[in-house]
Structure formats: C-alpha cells, structure tokens
Amino acid sequence: MNLVAENLSYKPDEQFHLNEVSFNFEKGNIYTILGRTLSGKTTLLKTIAGLLTPDTGAMQFEDKDFLKVPVWERNIAMVYQQFINYPHLNVFENVAFPLKQRKVDDQLINDEVTKSLKSVGLEGYETRKIQELSGGQQQRVSLARSLVKNAKILLLDEPLVNLDYKLREQLREEFKNIFSQGLSEDSIVVFSTTDPREAMEINGEVIVLDEGKVLQVGPAKEIFENPKTLKVAEISNDPPMNILKASIETNKIKFEEIEVELPNHLSNLKEKNFNLGIRASDIKLSDSGFEFEVELAEISGSETLLHLKRGNSRIIISIEEVLNFNIHDKVKISFNINKIYAFNENGVLSSSPFGGSYV
C-alpha cells in the first residue's frame, strides 16, 4: 500500500535530474525532500505526480504500476512554489474545481469548499478574483484547492519560498497545524524545501537530494546529528557547516596552526588527516580564542553572521546578537570541541558528537 519507487532515473540532457532514486513512502507520514536549487526536488515531485515520466525505474502505489496511471487518475494534489491558480475563476470556483471535475454533488462541494477555505483562513473571500489577492492569499487558495480533494498523495513544492518573511512564518505555522490535525491516516505528504530549518521544524522523514541523487534518508533529527557525508552536512545546515582540513597529532587536533584538544568522541579516529566539520553556532567569540580576520559581517534578523578567514581557511560563525564589525577586523574565537564532526578524506562521516559513523 505504500508508495514505492525503485531506481528512478531521468536524464533529459547532459545532466541527471534524477539519478537512481529509490524510496518507500508510508501512508500517514510526512516526507521532506531537502536539497539546494536544481537538486531535482521538483523533478522528483513531478515524477510522483505523473507530469514527468522517468527514463528508467519503477513506481508502485496501492498495488498498481503507478507509472502507467495517467496524472488525472492518480488522485494527487500539488502546490507549486509559484502561486498557481486558475486566473479566470474566483476563489470559490478555484477551490471547487477539482470537486466539480469529479462530478461531486453541488451541496457537498459547497460544504467542502467552505471547510477548506476556513482551514486556510480565507472565509469571506469566496467571490474575490485571484488577481485581487496578495501572494500569501493566493498560495492559501492553492493550498485549499489541494486540501479539498482529500488526495492520497499531497505534494508541496517549496510552497513557502516565494513569500515574504512574515507570511512565511505565519503560513509555516498553519502548515504544521494542518498537518497535525487535518491529515488523514491514509495520505502521504511530500514537502520539498531548500531550507534546513524548515525541514527540521516539520520533523518528518527527510530525504537529502543533491544532483538528482539521494544522499541520505532518515528522521530529521538523525540527519541533523549524523550527516552521512560532507555534502549532507553542507545542505542540511544553514549557514552550511564549516569544513576545515585538519590532522591529529598526539592528542591534539591541528588546523591552520591552531591546536585544540582531542575530544573523546574523536579518540578512535584511524586516519591522521581528516575534514573537520563544525557548525556556525558552535563557534563563539572569546578573548582567549584564536585570531581570525573578518571578511564579511551579515546581520540577519537578530543574529550576526561573521565570515572569517585564517590562512587558507574560511569559516562562518553565527552570533546571537547584532554586532557591528568592519572588514579586516581581527576577532578571537573558540571552538566547542565537543561538537566537532570528523569526515574522512572521501567526505564520509567517520565520527560525530552523537556517536554516528558511516565508515
């Protein structure tokens, strides 16, 4: 009964858009596809929807060869990152469209549409034209249209990305509510995003996708704590995890002429040279720390992102207050050694603070 895909590949041009993608989506769960732009997220969702046919691979759903089922018979719903609605119809007609297509009784349509519009907070907007709504409201209409169908598979393709900050926060909250209450036991939700924080917040099963390839699958917490490779660590952190070339010498970790103590969880490392990974939030300003030069200071919301340089290494640290720095200022920082990740020279996680290892 699950949605099962095996080795889906899609290569319309030189590059793979999907490269041997396999998954097993169970009903009643939320899946988050996390990847950067052009990583194949939309391609994957469109393949599930049936808008694209993969070159090779198989997909099964409810004991049917899903690739042979045409889009309009798949009983799916999809919300695009652009706000896609039917411009010639008003809000009510837009939401009613899929039900009308199914030839549902008028009274029932009325009830369902009203319920659906209420759940996205658009009651009273029934007769408005789509063009008269703001971006956030338009996206709510398309969300209402996809909820009204009670589809077996709900696909959300970066639904929040084109909204401004405040609306995004607001709608994300609503998504969580809708997911927690409105979701029936036998539907699958697939949510794609570039934002690791979004993926962690939704807290479902995360699929990390890059260049059409699945890099890691697991619960959000697991992806956060034990990223399988350097690439995953980069994609699943914002700002990306800092990576430094380091080596171990007699119970010390050395990088850029800095020596720090070897934490316990790294004491079993076999190799001498490794890639040291540390999150921006695990580096602090400290007077007793090591000197770095400021390359750029970004203030984002209530925090400051400092881009620092020492020798050939560049790192980003985040400070939880707004501070002003000038370029070429010298700052001193210290590393939280208990949060250091070690990736071997092939980029595979060899030791993490949470005990994971893929070597």
Binding site: K46, A49, G50, L51, P70, V71, W72, E73, R74, I76, A77, M78, Y80, Q82, I84, N85, Y86, P87, H88, F97, P98, Q101, R102, Q131, S142, R145, K149
Partner: protein
C-alpha cells in the same frame, strides 16, 4: 510644465483626430454628391455647399439591369469567405499553436521552432509568387471561381497569423496551469478547453481581429482566383471604375466596406476598456 503640457497634449490629439477622421468625412460628403458637385471644387457642407443626392448609394443596391452595380452579393460573399476562413484558421491555428507551445516535436532536424517558422514563412513570400501555384492548384481541383476555393486559399493566408500570435500567447501562459488542471483531474483535452482556453481569450481576440482584417482587405487573391461566378467586395469596388470615375458610389462603397472593421474595432475596444483582457495572467 502643467499648462503647456496640457495644451500640447490636446493640440496633438485634436490634430491626430482630424488627420484620422478627415478622410472619412471627405468620403461621406462625396458619397452624397453628384457629378456636378464633385467637379465644382472642394465643398463639404451639404445644403450650403452642394445639394446632397442619394444617387451614389442607390447605385450600389440597384441591379445591373437598371444601371446599378449591386454590391450586395459581393458583400455577403466577402463576409462569408472572411468569417469562415477566419473561424477555421483560428480553430486550427489555436490547436496547432497549443501543441507547438506545449509538446516537443522532433522529426530529424525539424523541431518546434522550425515548424512555427514554417507557418510564418507562408507569409514571407510575396503574394505574386503564390498566385500561380494557387491558380494551378485550384484549377486542378475545380475550385477556381468558387467561394470554397477562396476559403481554402484564405485559410493558408490567415492560419499562420493565428499560429504565430497564439504560440506566443500560450508560451506566456505558465505551463504549471495546465499541469495543475491535469492534477485536478482533467484529461489533456479538458485542461485545454476548461483552463487554458478561457485564459487565452485576449489572444484569441487579437488573432481573430488580425485574421478578419487581413481576410477582409485582400484584393489580390480575390482578383486572381475569381472571374464571373463569384466576386468579392474589394474586386467589385475596383470594378466600379469605368471611363467616368463615379466618385460618389466609390465613396459610398468604400464606407460600406470599412464598416465591419469599424464595428469590430469598437467591440474590441469596449472589451479592452472593461479591463477583461488585462491581468488575466499574472
């Protein structure tokens, strides 16, 4: 800025209005003149400058036996040929344009853009080049000097316009709208008729307008491909010219022949100003 700008604006608009309307007024007054009034110098105000006569208009509806020219039949011929050819061109053109916009075709080195260009290329050749093949072709299938033959030729001339305008228009309608319709349970035909087409009305109107105008004003093919059985309005009007140019009936027939285009323009203008065309697609 303020006053001078306003003055210049209105001056220019007035000038332009006179420039555009004057020929029509001239034709209108001339159509009520007779031989003497026309040759009596430039006169414009009826009853003061000249005595208005209805002869110019009467000639148009009188049968040739009574010394008239009878443009009624050619008029309806023209209307029939133009409307039928435009309608067929729009239907075929819109369907082809949608296919060219949404699906990928490949036959050897021929791809979508080449097919679109093929359509447009039909309009690149000067009509004179097409006239001989058309003549021979229609002769071979026995459609010379017939309404159906003209309709066939006009479809060849008008469909490229429809395809060209509609391909461009469909390319601007986001593909995601069709996809959403498919996801919402429409098959591809329903997606086209229920969602894409209602959102393409502005494009259809523009394409339809161009087809009607180009079909209506064509003289060349109507002249070459018809002889006695069938006559279209432009040919008939030109045929009015005899040893004495009847300016009055020429003017009257010119006005009558422009009338449908003016009506079309007013309808479209109404529709445009209602704002129905703007903002359909964000």
């Amino acid at each position: 800025m303020g006053k001078l700008y306003k003055f210049l604006k209105y001056f220019f608009i007035t000038f332009w209005a006179v420039f555009v309307v004057a020929p029509f007024l001239w034709a209108l007054t001339t159509s009520f003149k007779d031989f003497n009034s026309v040759n009596g110098g430039a006169t414009y105000i009826p009853w003061v400058d000249f005595e208005p006569k209805l002869e110019g208009w009467r000639v148009l509806i009188k049968s040739p036996a009574n010394g008239g020219v009878d443009i009624i039949e050619p008029y309806f011929n023209s209307l029939f040929v133009t409307c039928t050819a435009s309608l067929i061109s729009i239907v075929l053109g819109t369907l082809s344009a949608y296919a060219l916009s949404r699906f990928t075709f490949k036959a050897g080195f021929v791809k979508n853009n080449d097919i679109t260009f093929f359509f447009i290329s039909q309009r690149i050749m000067p009509p004179i080049v097409l006239s001989i093949p058309f003549f021979l072709f229609l002769g071979a299938i026995n459609l010379l000097d017939s309404l159906i033959g003209l309709i066939v030729v006009y479809i060849v001339l008008l469909m490229p316009i429809a395809v060209w305008i509609m391909v461009d228009f469909f390319n601007k309608v986001p593909r995601e709208i069709d996809e959403t319709a498919l996801i919402d349970g429409c098959n591809p035909y329903q997606a086209f008729f229920k969602v894409v087409l209602p959102n393409s009305i502005p494009g259809l109107i523009v394409a339809g307008m161009f087809c009607i105008i180009f079909g209506w004003i064509d003289f060349f093919f109507a002249f070459i491909l018809t002889f006695t059985e069938v006559q279209l309005l432009p040919v008939k009007i030109v045929a009015l010219n005899s040893s004495i140019t009847p300016w009055w009936s020429l003017s009257a027939s010119a006005l009558v022949s422009v009338a449908p285009l003016i009506i079309v323009a007013f309808i479209v203008e109404r529709y445009l100003s209602k704002g129905n065309l703007s903002g359909a697609i964000k």
